[in-house]
């Protein structure tokens, strides 16, 4: 049992944004002023008390968009390394996209992802199943069966569903499951062959441009399809002003649509791209500076509901190529929170409360997940966050198998120093000396107790 004292607790679900104490074991037991842990103690628990002045405490972040690459591309990432990297970055739940090899389009693979995720002892890993078999944009997967097996959403992410009729049917049929359908908005006839946003910068560099319309037309299409027949629509990685306008319109019409934005689309723009900076090659491509402003405004005013990393690991060899030949994707788990902290929270563009709402509460609500708040009796998915903790991003602090981040070798600050998933402290994220000492002491006492009684130490 842990009692975290005098942290700055941020829990928008309960309107908490101030200094108080949090007491939890596997579940949240109490949140309030001057809590006395002894009142809650029973014989099976020991109490560890942590003084957390100057630190924030908020519900674990939930990343609704990540690529863990297993099965198929374990050279880039696997579920274990991904789950550990995620928890190190402050995520207690991640949604794993279906575009693996083979594609997560059957029950066996959904169960495989779930069981590998449980073994990983990192963030909780929840599978997103494909919308169509093998991401071909054609036959629908057995949505009801896959939902029953554990899929929390459906997405052909990595590709847009090109045929409107298929998308319409998918939105309709997915209503059986109550799960959102996550749309990767990309019209391939417009985007084909491109490697960055079409604009002055692409014209300068001689790189084939992807017009903003490649995203916007499909976002608008899918919103209209959701209006036609209902269904829960979630727009992945929004990057264009027009798609945001479509989302805003859709919400005004009462259509059940939400949207997410990736930190890199809020922080970088196409102007930052140089010909050899393949770490900034990402799909959808980095927006124009103007669109980046629109995305931030929409996140702040709530039009865009949530943040998501679109964690997309790729090997060094794949990125060590000329720009047009390198794969799309930015490795996000371990830098996303610090990046948003430094680029948006510290300059006052985004409040901590808005951050937690967008990266924990709203994802939990939209995808029907357990976390997202510090309500009593909720699972103790908790992040203790030190805004001053500084690290230089490099191999000695890194858990992901891939290093394709624009922050490599850069100094960053604002990291989780301790993360609990269901009350279980995760080693992968443990940076806080006081928490570490308490955990070691706790283990030593338990060991002593085992020696005294001669009983096996219970596994946790």
């Amino acid at each position: 049992m842990w009692l975290i004292k005098k942290a700055h607790v941020v829990d928008p679900a309960q309107g908490i944004d101030g200094i108080c104490d949090v007491l939890f074991d596997e579940f949240i037991l109490a949140v309030g002023q001057d809590l006395n842990g002894e009142d809650f103690l029973d014989s099976s628990h020991r109490l560890s008390v942590i003084e957390a002045d100057g630190k924030y405490l908020f519900p674990g972040l939930i990343d609704v968009h990540a690529h863990l690459r297993e099965p198929g591309r374990e050279d880039k990432e696997d579920i274990t390394s991904g789950a550990k990297a995620a928890v190190r970055g402050g995520f207690t739940t991640v949604l794993a996209m279906a575009n693996t090899q083979p594609v997560i389009d059957n029950r066996g693979l959904v169960e495989y992802v779930m069981s590998r995720g449980e073994q990983a002892q990192g963030a909780r890993v929840l599978p997103v199943a494909a919308v169509t078999m093998d991401l071909k944009g054609d036959a629908l997967v057995n949505m009801a069966e896959l939902h029953k097996a554990g899929a929390v959403a459906f997405s052909d992410d990595g590709r847009g569903v090109q045929r409107a009729q298929t998308m319409l049917l998918a939105l309709q049929y997915a209503q059986l499951t109550g799960c959102p359908l996550i749309s990767h908005c990309e019209d391939e006839s417009l985007a084909k062959g491109g490697c960055m946003r079409r604009g002055f910068r692409s014209a300068r560099l001689g790189l084939t441009g992807i017009p903003a319309a490649a995203e916007s037309v499909m976002a608008a299409r899918d919103i209209l399809l959701a209006q036609e027949n209902g269904g829960k629509l979630h727009l992945a990685h929004l990057s264009t002003a027009a798609a945001v306008a479509a989302l805003r319109w859709g919400k005004q019409q009462g259509i059940d649509v939400t949207g997410e934005v990736n930190p890199h689309h809020l922080i970088f723009s196409d102007d930052d791209i140089g010909l050899t900076q393949t770490c900034l090659k990402v799909n959808p491509p980095l927006p124009s500076a103007e669109d980046r402003g629109v995305l931030l405004t929409a996140l702040v005013d709530g039009t865009i509901d949530m943040l998501a990393t679109d964690h997309a690991p790729h090997t060094w060899e794949e990125k060590a190529r000329p720009f047009p030949e390198a794969p799309f994707g930015i490795n996000g788990f371990e830098t996303a929170l610090a990046a948003v902290w430094m680029s948006l929270v510290e300059p006052g563009k985004l409040s901590v409360s808005q951050l937690v709402r967008a990266w924990s509460l709203n994802p939990a609500r939209r995808f029907g997940l357990a976390g997202g708040s510090l309500h009593v009796d909720k699972p103790a998915d908790i992040v203790l966050f030190d805004p001053k903790h500084t690290e230089t991003i490099g191999q000695d602090v890194w858990l992901s198998k891939s290093t394709n981040t624009p922050y490599w070798d850069k100094e960053m600050h604002g990291f989780p120093t301790a993360v609990w998933v269901g009350g279980s402290l995760r080693d992968a994220a443990l940076r806080d000396a006081a928490v570490r000492d308490a955990a070691i002491q706790d283990a030593a006492i338990q060991d002593a107790a085992i020696q005294q009684t001669g009983r096996e130490r219970p596994s946790c």
Binding site: L275, T276, F323, E325
Partner: protein
């Protein structure tokens, strides 16, 4: 030969973007001397004996490649040639590994042509040897732009010592000159490098082409933009036709070669009507009857053959500047 060898600062030549007008004048000044050598009966110098230059061509090319090879040999250096069809580059070896192999063979310079924009910059960051960009995707083709600008300066009579060595002058070498570039601007590294190079020397540049091949974002070059060839040609001192990749028609970028030739094909008549009898340049290879009418290509307006000779001189100058012992 009397050339100034002091302090050439660039390890690589990746694009015109990295060159100042003074750098360009320096190349021209050296190229003038090189051109004299090309007109001698014995065209061989011992200057770079013992140096070696690798040719790494990932894209079909005859004239650029032969031009570079001839330039290297004329200067007395050795050439190693690697092309997609004959080396391990088509056995799945990465560009980086191929280039590192060349580096390990102790080549002094590597000339690369590649289908990807940025390929030469990528190599330059990873190699000890100097890198010359002989065309990377749609990004730059600096030696083509240099030979085009050299040809124009020669024709306009501004290549004398007084023009090139006068301090603060090179950025005005082509001041008052209007140069039109017509064709598939969007996909052209030649257009990009020329826009940079000609503007750096003071010229006024106008791009002409259909909206699909000259989209609005090309305004980033701060050039004139016109979709009407005759309007664009008005008062031009020179016009450069770009090669039309006929396969662009298949992607729907223009409806037919016939309509393209009618709207954007250069003819003797068109040039005569434009007012100032402009020079005709073409980077080659030319589609006669498409971007340039045959009659015009063989007329006195055409400086296409001079471009080829000057290409040799300019490439000799560059290789000399980049590898001469200081």
């Amino acid at each position: 030969m009397d050339v100034n060898t002091e302090s050439w600062q660039h390890k690589d030549l990746l694009g015109i973007a990295q060159l100042s007008p003074w750098d360009i004048a320096r190349i021209f000044e050296t190229a003038v001397s090189m051109k004299e050598i090309l007109n001698r009966p014995i065209k061989k110098l011992p200057t770079l004996r013992g140096k070696s230059v690798a040719m790494l061509f990932y894209e079909a090319s005859t004239r650029t490649r032969v031009s570079f090879e001839t330039a290297v040999k004329t200067l007395g250096a050795d050439v190693g040639s690697f092309s997609v069809s004959t080396s391990s580059v088509n056995k799945g070896e990465s560009l980086l590994d191929t280039a590192k192999t060349l580096d390990a063979m102790k080549f002094d310079l590597i000339v690369i042509r590649h289908t990807s924009s940025g390929a030469s910059e990528f190599l330059a960051q990873n190699l000890r040897a100097g890198v010359i960009n002989a065309g990377d995707g749609q990004h730059e083709h600096p030696t083509q732009a240099l030979l085009d600008a050299f040809t124009l300066c020669e024709k306009f009579g501004v290549l004398g010592t007084k023009h090139l060595q006068e301090p603060a002058y090179p950025d005005r070498l082509l001041t008052g000159r209007k140069i039109v570039i017509v064709g598939d601007i969007l996909h052209s590294r030649v257009a990009r490098s020329n826009a940079l190079c000609l503007q750096r020397l003071g010229a006024q540049v106008t791009f002409v082409g259909p909206p699909t091949l000259l989209p609005p974002e090309m305004a980033c070059w701060n050039v004139g933009i016109s979709h009407d060839l005759d309007a664009g040609l008005d008062g031009a001192d020179a016009v450069m036709a770009l090669r039309l990749q006929l396969e662009r028609q298949k992607s729907g970028l223009f409806p037919s070669v016939r309509e393209y030739a009618e709207l954007y094909g250069l003819t003797l008549d068109r040039l005569r009507r434009s007012g100032r009898e402009p020079l005709l340049l073409h980077p080659g290879p030319m589609n006669r009857g498409v971007e340039v009418d045959s009659e015009l290509a063989d007329s006195l307006y055409s400086v296409i053959e001079e471009q080829v000779t000057n290409g040799l001189a300019v490439r000799m100058a560059l290789i000399y500047l980049m590898s001469a012992p200081l």
